[in-house]
């Protein structure tokens, strides 16, 4: 790994949450690339079974198996790294554990057919979560010849509304078996999640509802933080530059732009009917300015949380690997990775 200073030195499990529609999966993907660049090996884990990672990286649907999906770009001085991905689901994870602990090699399929796995995870909702987080914790702790297999693990976690329950493993399964694999497993998972090795990042947009959910989520996790849970950064997705100096931004928002000046400029650029056009463009500028000012107010609310904020630029084209590299570079430039 690089010797640069980053804000999350020592963190090896990055949990990424956010409200639906904020681009949580995209940011998790970009973070994985950012962490891998400079020679790292990073595992990106999907928790919701939507194959969002496969779509994002434009590769075939991911199995319950770690496979390499991208290469982080090499820099002038450092080699590139590797991003692996895995789509975790509770059913497969449970069967994996049962096989491991009870040697029930063929029981898995029978259990699935009978609907037992579905049943067990249904009557004990915490079980599903502990199996999923368990996979991430296991990958984080996995070692080969004394060295960690992955330099970092990035978890594309459930949305903000569910993150507290999801991470509060110990409490959620406390009613379950007091012995046996699940209980031991929950304790291991808990010890990883509540350690300086883990940080929980929030993805948001500069809009009221996502920002509110971020603040609510932070408040909820702060309640759990006494137990050692580490709050991470706030990743602000799809940021557009204001493009105008403050005085003009304010004037534009109030519809008080110097239209004459605009008109002259359009004329100078050789556009016909510049006056009619100036009216339309002034209206667009007004929309843009109001949006920019509203975003600034939301940004202020995020700053007040005291958590580090990182800005990811709006990618105008459809998100692809090129766009992900851009976002990854932005995260690295700002010290998030």
């Amino acid at each position: 790994m690089s010797a640069r200073d980053t804000d999350w030195e020592g963190v090896r499990l990055h949990v990424v949450t956010g409200k639906g529609g904020t681009g949580k999966t995209t940011v998790a993907g970009a973070l994985a690339i950012a962490l891998a660049s400079g020679g790292g090996k990073v595992l990106l884990i999907e928790m919701e079974g939507r194959q969002g990672i496969a779509r994002l990286f434009d590769c075939p649907p991911l199995p319950y198996q770690e496979r390499r999906i991208a290469v982080a770009p090499a820099t002038a001085t450092l080699p590139g790294g590797d991003v692996y991905a895995l789509a975790a689901d509770a059913e497969t994870a449970l069967i994996e554990y049962l096989e491991m602990f009870y040697n029930l090699r063929h029981a898995g399929t029978a259990l699935t057919r009978l609907g037992v796995v579905d049943f067990a995870t249904t009557i004990a909702p915490g079980l599903r979560d502990v199996l999923l987080t368990g996979k991430a914790a296991e990958a984080t702790r996995r070692r080969y010849k004394g060295h960690p297999v992955y330099d970092a693990v990035v978890m594309d976690a459930p949305p903000t509304g569910r993150i507290g329950k999801f991470l509060n493993v110990a409490t959620e399964v406390s009613g379950l078996a007091k012995m046996g694999p699940i209980h031991a497993h929950a304790e291991t998972v808990d010890s990883v999640i509540r350690s300086p090795q883990t940080a929980v990042h929030f993805v948001t947009l500069l809009e009221e509802m996502p920002v509110q959910e971020t603040l609510d989520g932070l408040a909820e996790l702060r309640g759990l933080a006494q137990g050692g849970l580490q709050l991470g950064g706030i990743m602000i997705n799809m940021v557009r530059p204001a493009g105008l100096p403050d005085d003009e931004l304010n004037a534009a928002a109030r519809g008080r732009l110097d239209r004459h000046d605009l008109d002259l400029g359009l004329k100078a650029a050789g556009l016909e009917d510049s006056l009619g056009l100036a009216t339309s463009l002034a209206a667009e500028l007004g929309d843009h300015a109001r949006e920019a000012l509203a975003q600034r107010a939301q940004r202020h609310r995020l700053d007040e949380t005291g958590q580090p904020c990182y800005e990811l630029p709006l990618i105008n084209d459809q998100m692809d690997l090129g766009g992900l590299y851009q976002l990854a570079a932005a995260l690295r430039d700002q010290g998030a990775a």
């Binding site: 007091k178 493009g243 667009e284 109001r290």
Partner: protein, 399 residues
């Protein structure tokens, strides 16, 4: 084809409007805007929202919503058409408790409500929210107090959950496994167990190991107390399901012009037609259109570059030859922003065309992106007006 929202809202035969779509597409705002518009056009409307984030409360300027419909203050300014607007937020646990109380004697109800397994089932089972939303919808419809119910579906990760989850809960509660597991506590259970194979013994063994004996005991006492209600659960889910298929129900699929949201909308549209659910149309929120669409992105960018790299040839009319590069920064910025907006609009249009190409007969309406968040009734009115705006005179891409 354009979706005629006012015709839908004004038609007295429209009794239920269901707004569905993936998370973050503006379902709640759309449902509230439709409800407000219908009320102001003379309907007696109740808006049912299922969102724990209380977004509807915010956008309707309310501070609290509970499990009973409350009048929305300030709605329906013009009393002439005689409409009214109520809103309520679903309390899923309360709704579940009410079903239990209504269907068992007080002692048994108390026993069920105190059961730890019931408590986790009624507050955190994936699907309970959808089931209870359907249940509440059925209750509201039955009460006949409102002539239009607008439902905002739960913020599931998939729009399909709204249709699937209630059945899932019904199936689960009715299921073979839950009965087998709890068999020993029930009369006649032992006889039943005899015919069960030894393999099943292994299965219960594993379940006990995994979830623990305490949980299993809770499940067993729950099943014993809940016994008479089991069949009813699937029945209720089926009833509401049929209500959704009935004439008088209209589904509106909500999306934004983004790949994920439109893909989800596509799945949902296909599923509705499979299940013979009445689809009224697609609402595309947050669409970027320009009032200056005749100036293309390419020309706009070129013009911005001309201004930014302007040599002496570009002079302000009254300034002689003193022109310097970047003479008109405001115009250049405006042109760049315009170009971006046109490109974005073009991309959105392509995505939408992809959808309409696959589903050509579905009426569509677009709602422009709002520069600021909607959080008051005026904002909802503006959205309502956009929804009902007469056919778009604009762009060539309309055909």
């Amino acid at each position: 084809m354009r979706l005629e929202v006012d015709r839908l809202l004004d038609d007295p035969r429209t009794r239920i409007i269901v707004c569905c779509g993936s998370g973050g597409v503006g379902k709640t705002t759309t449902a509230a805007a439709l409800g407000l518009r219908a009320a102001e056009r003379g309907r007696h409307v109740v808006v049912l929202t299922v969102d724990p984030a209380r977004r509807l409360a915010q956008s309707m300027g309310l501070t609290s919503l509970d499990n009973t419909p409350r009048p929305v203050p300030g709605a329906v300014r013009d009393p002439r058409p005689g409409g009214s607007l109520h809103a309520m937020m679903l309390d899923m646990k309360r709704t579940f408790d009410e079903i239990v109380e209504a269907h068992s004697d007080p002692d048994r109800a108390a026993q069920i409500l105190a059961n730890p397994f019931y408590q986790s089932l009624s507050s955190s089972f994936a699907g309970t929210q959808e089931y209870m939303a359907m249940e509440k919808l059925g209750q509201l419809r039955k009460s006949d107090e409102w002539d239009l119910i607008v439902v905002d579906t739960p913020p599931s990760r998939s729009a399909l959950d709204f249709l699937d989850a209630p059945q899932r809960l019904g199936r689960f509660l009715d299921g073979r496994l839950i009965r087998l597991l709890s068999a020993p506590t029930r009369v006649g259970g032992r006889a039943y167990l005899k015919v069960v194979t030894a393999g099943f013994g292994m299965v219960t063994g594993i379940i006990t190991k995994v979830i623990g004996t305490q949980v299993l005991r809770d499940v067993q006492t729950f099943v014993a107390a809940f016994d008479t209600m089991f069949g009813g659960f699937r029945q209720r889910a089926d009833d509401t399901y049929r209500l959704l298929q009935a004439p008088g129900t209209a589904f509106l699929v909500i999306a934004t012009p983004e790949p994920d949201a439109l893909r989800e909308a596509s799945y949902f549209v296909e599923r509705l037609s499979q299940d013979r659910m009445p689809l009224a149309g697609l609402i595309v929120n947050r669409v970027h259109r320009s009032p200056a669409a005749r100036l293309s992105a390419a020309r706009s960018l070129a013009a911005a570059e001309t201004l930014e790299s302007a040599p002496a040839a570009l002079i302000r009319p009254n300034e002689g030859s003193a022109a310097s590069p970047g003479r008109y920064p405001l115009a250049a910025t405006a042109l760049r922003l315009h170009a971006e907006r046109m490109q974005l609009g073009e991309r959105e249009r392509r995505l939408e065309e992809h959808f309409t190409g696959a589903h050509p007969v579905i009426p569509v309406v677009e709602v422009p992106a709002q520069p600021e968040d909607v959080h008051d009734l005026d904002g909802l009115r503006a959205i309502g007006a956009e929804l009902a705006r007469a056919a778009d005179p604009a762009p060539a891409a309309a055909d």
